[in-house]
Symmetry: D2
Subunit: 293 residues, 4 copies
């Protein structure tokens, strides 16, 4: 398998390194230069230009957002460079709509499209322990499945409609946002009645809610430690709105989702755009007259 | 340690059995007769009447609710029967207010009060793997700590104010209710956009949200299987309201909590009081025009 | 008609004066002395004690709240003093539950009970232009209808179940609270986009929303003038909760009502209990990061 | 004044008739033919084509929505036909964004733009009793003020930024939507506790809430009469969203507005798009388990 890899960001680099170390022939490219060194050290080669990567039989991308993906992969020149019969694997968190658009545009050029967003932070990517959620053409997924085994601990296949993988990813983030607000409320009650928010979240993580979401955010929320941001609040609102807009287009109101949107707006209006998204906690605290940080 | 044990319900029986099997001298009592057989088989003896149990140096109770507890433990005759210098351990989920009242009334009789609600279902109690959250007089907790080691995998001590243990328990249930509604919304979005709610919840439980809450309720919600009820919806509303009333008395609004109260009312108005509380899911579905069961 | 009148407060005095001036024989009483002078000047006489008023064939009360009413009218001694065959007219805003209780207790003593809460401020009472909402025994209402014609511009009869009149009054206040929040949101949008909140509310009051509610509160809200309080915020919350509790007991969630409760709590937590209830406006403004007064 | 009038809809016709009857020289045009007869009978003449109207020194438009307005007035050919030094008066309810765009485009052609949305239904337009809210170039408003006196009972001037007039109109509709939901909740409480929703709304309209909004919608809501639609629910949601999107862009959450959006979605999901917008009442009723129509 001759692999091109686009995007040398915080997630792209460790995933590309793992693929190169597993012995695959990997050619990498990043829009801004100087990011690929550690990947080249792991055995990859760097492409002279974008089209050199797009010619490969398997192209993997890990780009920042819808716009970066569309610019690099779906522009007229990029679509012209794409190789008939190849497979494009999109590991990034893009919107379901973008994924559907990519699937249509690439299929028209004879390219199979696989949406494969991942769950896990950079350190999990480093360890090759990501969870991969894949959807798209079944034969194409079979073909690239060995790559998923390299970067992840497990691959979930959710059908042949590519955008469903992105929906799962967005709903995952939506569930995290909901858990954050639930913890914000519980810890604020604890504080108000004279209990210990930190101890509360430790007990919860030890008993009812194991895992990193309640563990990590529970600690940040109960200690009110919102910087440095693991995931910026402004981006968090974008993801919550992706869930909301999918729902609203389907004439489905989300009772918690509408409340979340207002809480995020409250946080933005108080200058928290660059804090971690779990700092929406402060909106609930402010409303109760609790002093700011 | 000479132990009296009140309450042979679905949780009380396995806890009492484990204590008896561990070699303690246990005398049990239950208001309605014929429930103690399996506990007696494990080595306990059955008391002729309530006061025989209340005379013990350590009295453990696991009673259904505030009222059952107050009737059995705080009535004038029961308080008279209580032994000066003894310890009362309340394993049940009672309200923080009830716990505070019990602490005052028992202390006045020279009895120490320990609130020690537990996390875990009957099968977890059977396995001696409960999580115990204890608060109250520190010396009394030290004294009964060996019993907690018998019934649980871990004991969390949250201070010397008894009602704080009950607050932790109630906030735990509050977090579960929030998680249920979050899952209700995410699975309904998935359904509306043509995805698989079941697969979504499997992926979530495998990646972001390990553990029994997201695992068990995720399955029930995505399969819309609400009977038999593990926890009745009407009781769920009672617990959500305990969290809300604590918050409201402290002039703290709970954005999600207020929404939850309305969703539970919607469910009650549709005859779901005896279904599992995760059936509040149907309120969100009905509002989107999705057909009932 | 021989009339006893209890309660010489801001509403009671002008109503009693108007009845005395209309030529009725009125005996008044107030718990704390020195309030009745202006009513006596209008031709009323002052009773030596409460029971002298309760002996009359028509007793009219205008007392502060549920408790003041129950203390003065429903105590054992007051019920003993009540005259068989008499009519009690309660002009105050009490809860529907209190009204139902009074109806039962008085009927048992052979006294007819008419709930007749009024709409209008003290100056409207002074002018004899109140709106009276009456419910209770039809014959009793017929009997006291001439009094309603003296104090009001119009009497609405809403049936023979006394508490229904109180429900109408509470729902009237509930509608005002909703209008206040609607105006709070509209004026804050206007402010945020560079328009004039005051002009907005003037246009509205001149076109879509004539009348004193939108006129008076529209001015206070758009000018953010919350003192002196016409109706204290803490009392406003009490009335909103009367509507909410009636609804919730009937398994009816109030989408706006639940939001209102949280906004009132927010205001209380920010020390606004003694401001006019339309100052809940500040909660919406604070959430948008707008500076306080 | 030589007037061109675009749009012979339910509002445009009576307004154009009144202007013609007042002695002005009016030339009318409508995209689909056969609508202008009654206006021609009142003394207007019909234009052979759109550009004949756009050449006039004062052009008045009353078109269905943003799109109809942009197509007829802001297309390249229409802008070319516009007369330098003329005034365009837009009587329709368009979005503030559309108004700002029109102002810029017309000004560039030397045309003054006046946004002048009106409050009132067709019968009010017929009577020349509309309320006009005007914003834009002050000199231009002075020039066309006599026309506003013909069609309306009063003109409110809200500054020289055209879009502010549209914002006032949208916030007016927003206030109506809020009043509708408030009435929906109050009447449903009344019904649930055995009172009369109709009588409640009559009392309210007679006392606290005079005017057509509470009068008309109060009657429709309490009688649950939603057809024929005076204002379609789907259009109502569009207007509520115009208010919400203005607010959200300004980082202002609208607590009631977010709830309204969900209630409208609920109604849409239940097939109510073509009912009157006050039928969102049914969402609250359904949630309480009350039987449908």
């Amino acid at each position: 398998m001759d692999i091109g890899f686009l995007g040398m960001g915080r997630m792209g680099r460790p995933m590309a390194r793992n693929i190169a170390r597993a012995g695959y022939d990997v050619t990498v490219w990043n829009r801004s230069p100087g990011k690929a060194a550690s990947v080249v050290d792991s055995g990859a080669s760097e492409a002279p230009d974008l089209s050199a990567v797009l010619h490969k039989s398997v192209v993997v991308s890990s780009l920042a957002d819808d716009r970066a993906f569309a610019d690099s992969v779906l522009s007229t020149s990029s679509l012209r460079a794409a190789k008939h019969g190849s497979v494009h694997v999109n590991l990034a968190t893009v919107s379901p709509g973008m994924s559907a658009e990519a699937e249509a545009a690439l299929n028209e050029k004879g390219v199979s499209y696989v949406a494969a967003p991942v769950f896990g932070r950079p350190e999990v990517a480093e360890a090759g322990e990501l969870t991969v959620v894949a959807a798209g053409d079944a034969g194409a997924i079979d073909e690239v499945a060995p790559l998923f085994d390299v970067i992840g601990r497990r691959t979930w296949r959710v059908g042949d409609d590519a955008k469903q993988a992105n929906t799962v990813k967005i709903l995952g983030n939506y569930l995290i946002a909901n858990a954050i607000q639930a913890m914000a409320e519980a810890t604020t009650v604890a504080e108000k009645v004279g209990g210990s928010p930190e101890l509360l979240m430790e007990v919860m993580n030890d008993s009812l809610f194991p895992g990193r979401v309640y563990g990590g955010y529970g600690k940040m929320i109960s200690q009110r430690r919102y910087e440095p941001a693991g995931f910026r609040l402004a981006l968090g609102l974008k993801d919550v709105r992706l869930a909301l807009s999918q729902a609203r287009e389907a004439q489905l109101g989300l009772p918690f989702g509408s409340v979340l949107e207002d809480l995020f707006l409250d946080a933005l209006a108080h200058g928290q755009a660059d804090q971690d998204w779990c700092s929406i906690t402060e909106a609930t605290r402010r409303r109760a007259g609790l002093a700011g940080e």
